[in-house]
């Protein structure tokens, strides 16, 4: 059984659109007699709009009887005779709007669906508001949908949680704020697990936000399983590890280089350079206008060739185009080109048959042509950007740096003075910092001077430099700053430093595999391995007392895994995890999720914000210890 997150989420949404009744099987069972509420209006808020847009198109909405769809904020007019389906987040503002809508009697009946569990106080607000306005009879149902996450592909999801890395690593963050963030992440992860209907075994590296998230999630799952009518299939005690997947939680500081590096594969390139958001892409077309494309599971070329390097992708487009031209020629030959042939009976009948098959295959051919055109457009736009910013040389140099562990000084300076915009140069410089084993201060200074020459804001650079320098004097940093910072935040900070230390050492091995992939592989294998032995284990189903003895069977090889990255992830990690899953015998399945999908540029911006917060502006060279 493969865990297909997108499929399950779509099922839940369709069920919600059918007013949470059991879906009537559409094949020949008759329509309309039992189900009087066929036409409905869908109302959502901005977050839920992001959830719905990669999953359902407007045409599919019509198939389920939704005639209109509006934002909750919009000024809406009354429409009689129809039930309204609300799909919103449980916030105070939304509740107020719902109450005002019911009092204005905009629609006949209200079916309220909240994307995660609505807390008691808000429910009471809703109740008192509607009792006050005497409109109780209009609210028919209230449901918790547990769908507070955005699924982009079958095995890729994101929580759309902005600036999570900044908030977690902020040295001035208080205990309450960090707890809030962890709480949000845990509730969203709980929604993911509830949609998949699995209770996984949780593993995480010790220390840092990963451990906090894991323990809170474990607690939440335990409490929920003890309550009656829980959401997970009643399967008794699943002790065999074959049935349960493993949930690995990582922190971004585990491997910093992947988020910053320039990549040359198709999917990461499109995401990084052209700004792919919620599977939508806006590209300058050949005639100059902006065109919008959709890149998701319905596009066979994207699915098949997403992880190829860019030159190979261009070759693939060529071959597809040639194949298409050949097919079109054949169709033409069979049907139209027979003008000169003799017209006897057999040919006429043959022609009819060919005509019919040609007419049937025409829509398929036009679709193929559209896909090829779309990708040609995208590839042309990408090529323009790559040439302008010489992204291929950046990518090559960075991967060489990671493998070799250092770089020739002249090459470094020539790259920094060459082509590419400011963000590229900053990324390159940060990669240099991360990958070089031993930094000599003079080199670092020359790099900084070169950066400042190109008018690049160096706060991110300073931040990473400071982190790396703290790496050496770890113990003293802990003791020196204890007096100033809140205890909790300090503990977090210190642990993040140690995690970054470990992350610095997670350079790429010779076969160019990400540290994340190696670790996940080791965790799924379950054999003792020095890298992962320090990882903690949480099992929500096991009773609290037994933690050590019965855990041996839990470490067996797992067939499915859910990998979650706190602080930001990208398509590179997703791609490499999919490669890992496919290359195993038997084929395993890995779902990758993160708090938000960041491009390299966006992540550097977050680092820069952190640098500025620590007072490391672009002016001073010496790191200022707060």
């Amino acid at each position: 059984m493969a865990l297909n997150l997108r499929h399950k989420q779509t099922e839940c949404i369709i069920r919600m659109l059918n007013l949470n009744q059991t879906v009537i099987s559409p094949v020949g069972a008759g329509v309309g007699t039992a189900n009087e509420e066929v036409y409905k209006i869908l109302i959502y808020d901005r977050f839920c709009q992001d959830i719905l847009s990669p999953l359902i198109h407007v045409k599919d909405l019509r198939k389920h009887g939704v005639t209109l769809y509006f934002l909750v904020d919009k000024d809406r007019k009354p429409v009689h005779d129809v039930p309204a389906v609300y799909f919103v987040q449980p916030t105070q503002l939304n509740i107020q709007r719902i109450v005002s809508d019911t009092s204005k009697a905009l629609y006949d009946s209200f079916h309220l669906n909240f994307s995660s569990s609505i807390p008691r106080p808000l429910l009471e607000d809703l109740a008192s508001g509607s009792v006050n306005s005497d409109s109780i009879q209009r609210i028919s149902k209230v449901h918790d949908q547990y769908l507070e996450f955005v699924t982009l592909e079958d095995n890729l999801f994101s929580l759309a949680n902005k600036n999570c890395y900044v908030q977690l690593n902020d040295p001035s963050a208080g205990e309450k704020e960090i707890e809030e963030i962890i709480e949000k992440i845990v509730s969203a992860l709980f929604c993911v697990l509830a949609t998949l209907a699995v209770v996984p075994i949780i593993r995480c590296p010790p220390g840092g936000p990963a451990e906090m998230v894991a323990s809170l999630l474990d607690q939440r799952l335990r409490d929920h399983l003890l309550a009656k009518n829980n959401l997970f299939t009643e399967g008794g005690n699943f002790t065999s590890s074959f049935q349960r997947p493993i949930l690995c939680i990582f922190d971004r500081n585990f491997e910093l280089s992947v988020a910053i590096q320039h990549e040359f594969r198709y999917k990461p390139l499109v995401h990084d350079v052209l700004g792919l958001r919620l599977n939508r892409l806006n590209v300058k077309g050949e005639k100059g206008g902006m065109k919008s494309f959709e890149l998701d599971h319905s596009d066979p070329f994207w699915m098949a060739n997403g992880s190829l390097e860019f030159p190979e992708v261009a070759v693939e487009i060529e071959t597809q185009l040639n194949k298409y031209k050949k097919d079109v020629e054949e169709v033409n030959r069979r049907t139209g080109g027979n003008a000169g042939a003799e017209f006897d009976g057999t040919d006429l009948i043959g022609n009819t048959k060919h005509l019919m098959s040609a007419v049937n295959s025409l829509p398929e051919l036009t679709e193929r042509k559209q896909v090829i055109d779309k990708h040609t457009n995208i590839a042309t736009a990408l090529l323009g950007e790559i040439k302008e910013r010489s992204l291929d040389s950046y990518a090559k140099m960075e991967s060489e740096m990671m493998i070799r562990g250092g770089i020739d000084r002249n090459e470094l300076l020539s790259m920094l003075r060459g082509k590419g915009d400011k963000m590229d140069k900053l990324r390159f410089a940060v990669m240099y910092l991360i990958s070089t084993e031993s930094l000599s201060p003079s080199e670092v200074e020359t790099v900084e001077i070169a950066l400042r020459e190109s008018e690049v804001d160096t706060s991110a650079f300073q931040y990473v430099k400071k982190i790396k320098s703290l790496n050496i004097s770890l113990a003293s940093a802990n003791s020196a700053s204890r007096s100033n910072i809140v205890d909790w935040a300090e503990k977090l900070y210190g642990q993040s430093i140690s995690a970054v230390t470990a992350g610095m050492k997670n350079l790429l091995s010779g076969d160019h595999q990400l540290a994340l992939t190696r670790t996940v592989d080791a965790l799924m294998e379950g054999k003792p391995n020095p890298e992962i032995d320090s990882f903690l284990v949480f099992d929500p189903r096991a009773p609290k007392s037994t933690s050590g003895s019965s855990s041996s069977h839990l470490k067996g090889p797992f067939k499915e895994a859910i990998v979650f990255m706190i602080g930001g992830g990208n398509y590179v990690e997703h791609g490499s995890l999919q490669d890992l899953a496919r290359s195993q015998q038997p084929v395993k399945h890995v779902i990758y999720g993160t708090t938000e999908l960041l491009t390299g540029g966006e992540f550097i911006e977050q680092l820069a914000v952190l640098g500025k917060k620590m007072g490391l502006g672009s002016g001073d060279i010496a790191p200022a210890v707060k």
Binding site: N20, G28, G32, V38, I136, H143, Y146, A197
Partner: protein
């Protein structure tokens, strides 16, 4: 599938508590709680009733197709006339459904144009949202009808394929027989010729008669085959025509769907425009009132200055 958490019970509890907090007496609380259980039968507008009826009829059409699909396709169960009868019924049904959809669409347009005749005093029923909703309903109905029609087209296409296949082997068989008879004729004529050469002229006369008879037979067969060929060609042209008509009908339904989709999108645009228009109006009102006060003040000051100057001089 995951079970979804139904919080209606919790909601009812909160409602109960809220009612008690607000000091409602027992009777009121009881009525409120009862309203959860007794769902009032809401009066439906005629539009919705008509739309639901059309939906039911399209559903009935689909069921009819499903039940008769096997009979239609299987060659042994039905005769050609029965199949034609089924086709005829289905076509009539499709036409009636299309008429119902047209009636609904015209009613929306009529309401819109009627309301515009008044001084902009529209009832509650005719705001942009409701019109967009009604267009949406009509669009959904028309899409459903289109899907049923295309299924029917597919069944028809299968029937034609079968018919063509049936004709082809027969013709092959016929031409095979024709060749066989020709070759047998040739053989027999050869034999006859050899016989003739062997036999003398006294046997020429009856042999020639035999040849004559065989020739006649051959010619008769040829005529028969030619007529069959003509019949087949006629059938084929008829079938091509029918498939063309099929396509035409489905394109018509498709066109109608597209038109309705167009109208629906325009209606949705209209709701957005109405919202923008409201905003602009409120801005204009603000500006208007602001400038009015300024103007009044200005005139006031001018009047008093004129009076003052007059009094002064």
């Amino acid at each position: 599938m995951t079970k979804v958490r139904d919080r209606t019970e919790d909601f009812k509890d909160s409602v109960h508590r809220a009612a008690l907090n607000l000091g409602y007496n027992e009777f009121k609380t009881a009525t409120i709680m009862a309203s959860f259980i007794l769902q009032k039968r809401r009066e439906r507008s005629p539009f919705t009733k008509a739309a639901l009826k059309t939906l039911e009829s399209i559903g009935a059409l689909e069921q009819f197709l499903m039940t008769h699909k096997k009979d239609y396709l299987d060659l042994r169960r039905t005769t050609e006339q029965e199949r034609d009868g089924i086709e005829h019924e289905v076509t009539v049904f499709i036409n009636s459904c299309k008429e119902q959809i047209d009636v609904l669409k015209n009613s929306i347009n009529a309401e819109e144009s009627n309301s515009k005749g008044w001084l902009g005093i529209r009832g509650d029923n005719l705001n942009a949202d409701t019109i967009a909703h009604k267009h949406g309903v009509v669009l959904i109905l028309s899409e459903k009808l289109h899907s049923v029609t295309s299924k029917f087209d597919q069944l028809r296409a299968i029937r034609f394929q079968d018919a063509i296949n049936r004709v082809m082997p027969k013709r092959k068989l016929k031409s095979g027989i024709k060749n066989a008879t020709e070759s047998s004729n040739l053989q027999s004529t050869e034999v006859n010729n050899s016989d003739v050469r062997e036999a003398n002229e006294f046997q020429a006369e009856p042999i020639r008669v035999q040849q004559q008879v065989l020739d006649d037979e051959t010619r008769a067969l040829q005529v028969e085959l030619a007529s069959m060929l003509d019949a087949v060609q006629e059938t084929e042209t008829k079938m091509v025509e029918m498939s063309a008509l099929n396509h035409l009908m489905s394109t018509h339904v498709l066109q109608q769907t597209q038109q309705i989709e167009h109208l629906y999108e325009q209606a949705v645009e209209a709701t957005k425009n109405v919202q923008l228009g409201n905003k602009e109006l409120s801005q204009a009102i603000q500006r208007n009132s602001g400038s009015r006060t300024f103007l009044l003040l200005f005139l006031f000051v001018l009047t008093f200055s004129i009076l003052f100057l007059d009094w002064y001089s």
